[in-house]
Symmetry: C2
Subunit: 265 residues, 2 copies
């Protein structure tokens, strides 16, 4: 590190501070699922940038400034982070889960591509995390044990027609499916429409799983069928999964497991 | 824990040993990506079961038996693990990456469903890990930053016609795509056929990425186009990703980044 430390002694050769930007996945919520490399970066950062509840997962300490911002501020937040790194600061942009899955990864690269040329010389790194999808799948068994797809059900950034088209093609491909953002405040009817499409394409008996706030004290799991599912079963913290035609439920003495077999022959 | 410890004092009430089975994701390779909960389980296990190279990632210690087995032995391995847990042992079944993505998770639940009724009373838990797909995506930027699918290209357990159908539907849905097992020893021609289908469906200019052995000393990354890609660019340790129609490459001073924007409107 060629950092010019705040406490460097006079007479020590002044060096240009070298900033960096790390895009860090914090995992789904539990500290026990934060990777050591993510924890290490958070210990070295001078600035943490992200959506307020994620920034608050980073323990405050002297020398660390936490910049929490609102949802839907992703591009402005990414620009702020890139600018601070250019100024020589060590900036961690934090996302829940994995930063590459409907999180800050794409937003930072969008800002990088559209932004100041200097930004392209920055030391940038993406640190993966355990995504909500993988954590939810683990809690339920192995529902994504065969080919699957992962969709963002929010129509903030794409037309509803595209979501519906993708749902129908995913059903035709017989993928297991994972859905992020099933219910947004602004469009509460979206998930009801998705359920209608899925019932038409997959039938009422197909398993659907709701995994809310996995690995936090608010965790709640529910396994039901498309026929029994209702829009009230999801909120903004729910990860939804729908089985393929081969997905199976195993009733057990302790609990029910859901898995998709490896074989489709 | 109601373990009957090996070193328990005479006179202490003998209790029935309570075994467990934990299906553990070791992440893509680097120790820095193993979650603390996975490390904790490996410290408590009496037995580690898995494919030889993954079992060898667990440091030997007194009191731990490592049971390495060959590839394609998944069901026999799962049965062995379930049986040992029934006998009171603390068994970790290890997978590289995440156990729910083309790994031991589904195999254990297949064995559980088909096996002895006693197994259903076992204490079973799945511990997620950073999958190869997420680690590869992080190294390259954010190529899975929008809706995506994940396919196993091996035709050991499904007919090739189904793989081809899924590739065509995934292209029609305009998903970014991640592929596991692009090239198997027994069917080296499979990936060449996949490339032909993808070129037809997505065009020669579409970005394709090869990420080999991410986070290990053998890591190698390559970004090219479907038109330039050849089957020799993959081996059994390569994770392949294909962009959606919106995926972009950013040339930078240090390196090239690949990302798929969040917006499709």
């Amino acid at each position: 590190m060629s950092e010019a430390k705040a406490g460097s002694r006079p007479g020590e050769r002044e060096r240009v501070p070298r900033g960096w930007l790390k895009i860090v996945g914090l995992g789904p919520g539990s500290e026990a699922m934060v990777t050591p490399e993510a924890s290490g970066v958070l210990e070295q950062a001078t600035d943490v940038v992200g959506y307020v509840p994620y920034v608050e997962r980073v323990t405050p300490r002297p020398g660390l400034t936490r910049h929490g911002s609102d949802n839907r501020e992703e591009i402005r937040r990414a620009e702020q982070a890139l600018e601070m790194a250019t100024e020589g600061r060590r900036v961690a942009v934090v996302s829940s889960g994995d930063p590459g899955v409907f999180a800050m990864g794409a937003a930072v690269f969008e800002a990088l591509e559209a932004g100041r040329p200097e930004w392209r010389s920055l030391d940038i790194q993406v640190l993966p995390g355990v995504s909500a999808m993988l954590a939810a799948s683990a809690r339920l068994g192995a529902p994504l044990g065969h080919d699957f797809c992962c969709l963002n059900l929010s129509d903030n950034l794409k037309p509803w027609a595209l979501i519906e088209k993708r749902l129908r093609l995913a059903a035709e491909a017989d993928f297991a499916m994972a859905f992020y953002n099933p219910r947004s405040r602004s469009r509460p009817e979206g998930f009801a429409r998705a359920l209608t499409v899925l019932r038409e394409a997959c039938g009422n008996a197909r398993p659907i799983m709701f995994a809310r706030a996995v690995s936090t004290p608010e965790e709640r799991l529910r396994v039901t069928t498309l026929g029994e599912a209702t829009p009230e079963m999801v909120d903004m913290r729910t990860l939804v999964m729908v089985g393929s035609s081969l997905t199976r439920c195993i009733p057990g003495a302790r609990r029910e497991w859901v898995y998709t077999p490896r074989s489709a022959s």
